[in-house]
């Protein structure tokens, strides 16, 4: 008796998993109303933030696996947003970069306005000294070294940090420059963290 119950519970558990897979349909107007009620107004000072753009919409809809045509569309759209430093120099100060990469503060509704941290370590291993790193993204240890410290690689990495989806549509990695989450100088500094031969990332 009890066994059958457990078995039944298990079966339902799996069945519900299956339903989750084949995206249940939700009326867009209902969804709009629900999200509107969760966030009825834009907080003061947040007016310039992107809350939900076309790329986010497409990635959500396709569960981050966009079909070919959508993939290409997103990529083109995101590449068009990337702005390089005017003087073409993408390398800042790696020492400041390490601070920025470690800083996870800023940008939440409980934070006062402040300079945001990038929190790269939340998702990436970078150097061997920092043991508190996450695993949502690949290890970046020896990143610049493995790319021969080539200037065009550094430039591509700056673009990656500026807008991760210009390289990999629907990447889990935030679009730091696109959202103005990081400043140009901050992005140069973390690029240097990856590309300076003296940086612990390359040791």
């Amino acid at each position: 008796m009890k066994k059958t119950f457990v078995l039944a519970a298990l079966l339902t558990a799996f069945a519900s998993g299956a339903t989750a897979q084949d995206k249940p349909k939700v009326d867009p107007a209902t969804l709009e109303a629900v999200t509107k009620a969760m966030w009825p107004k834009v907080p003061e000072g947040w007016e310039k933030r992107v809350s939900f753009d076309e790329t986010q919409k497409q990635c959500s809809e396709h569960r981050n696996e966009p079909p070919g045509a959508v993939f290409d569309q997103i990529k083109a759209r995101e590449i068009a947003t990337v702005k390089f430093p005017a003087d073409g120099n993408v390398l800042g100060d790696w020492k400041s970069g390490i601070r920025i990469a470690n800083d996870g503060r800023g940008g939440t509704f409980t934070d006062r306005p402040m300079t945001n941290g990038a929190n790269c370590y939340a998702c990436h291993q970078l150097d061997l000294a920092q043991l508190s790193y996450g695993t949502l993204g690949p290890s970046l240890h020896l990143y610049g070294k493995n790319r021969g410290f080539k200037p065009e690689e550094a430039k591509a990495t700056y673009a990656k940090i500026y807008n991760a989806m210009s390289v990999m549509p629907c990447s889990m990695m935030p679009r730091f420059g696109y959202h103005n989450f990081l400043t140009e100088q901050q992005m140069k500094d973390v690029t240097a963290l990856l590309f300076d031969p003296e940086s612990p990332v390359n040791k």
Partner: protein, 277 residues
Amino acid sequence: MLKRGKRAWFSWALAASLAGGALAQAPQPIDTEKELEKYRAMINDPMSNPGYLNVDRGEVLWSTKRGAKNVSLETCDLGQGPGKLEGAFAKLPRFFEDVGKVMDLEQRLFWCMQKIQELDTADIVRRRFGGPGRFSDMEDLVAFIANKSNGMKFEVPLAHPKEKEAFAIGEVLFHRRSDFMDFSCATCHAEDGRRIRLQGLPNLIKPGKAVQETMGSWPTYRVSQSQTRTMQHRLWDCYRQMRTPEPIYLSDGLTALTLFLVKQAEGGEIQVPSIKR
């Protein structure tokens, strides 16, 4: 991230015993079973789990006459009939005929406070999350009521069309990327064995042990905050990390997400209030 409050002494004992659950870097697998047993004994022991202070306060609040009507909550119907608490939490969120919508435990309690007691609910909302020197009636009531489902398993058949709809909305919200960081819940909770810094991230979309243990352990006494927290607070905190604006307490989207998660956790056993980091 971890605030070393006065209860910090708890966290390391816990870290050692949470091997099966939240902690990614589990210590050596020495006697995991024994450690878990100790942990279970501890969360069930009102003397060592501060969450039971909330349970006790919640019990008093449930039967205290309050509000303009000066009555208690004892006639409040949480889905199993007026005043019936055993097993109610295991079947929430659910559709309520009298309101015509799906509600989680907190929404339902709030509704009962308004309709049955005519209580000053602005004050309830102000104190929705407890802090130093400020108790939350909601955290207390949820701890008390959820505890009455201990040993039971989540059961949400999604029988009503509104429940099906809420589940579907929850599933979409789980995958909805937005705001400053392009995050969705799936960014952090859709794969096994990932971590952010050193915090393990439970996979919440794969039915099975991880999501069952997660959902079966809320409300929980959070050592890092010295407070007992409910799922409303957990979702509030995850949206905070996602850099969205503050989601409105008791909004239907949070209930839809909770229903989605509880459905993923179906069959999981409830043991609350638990203790966590």
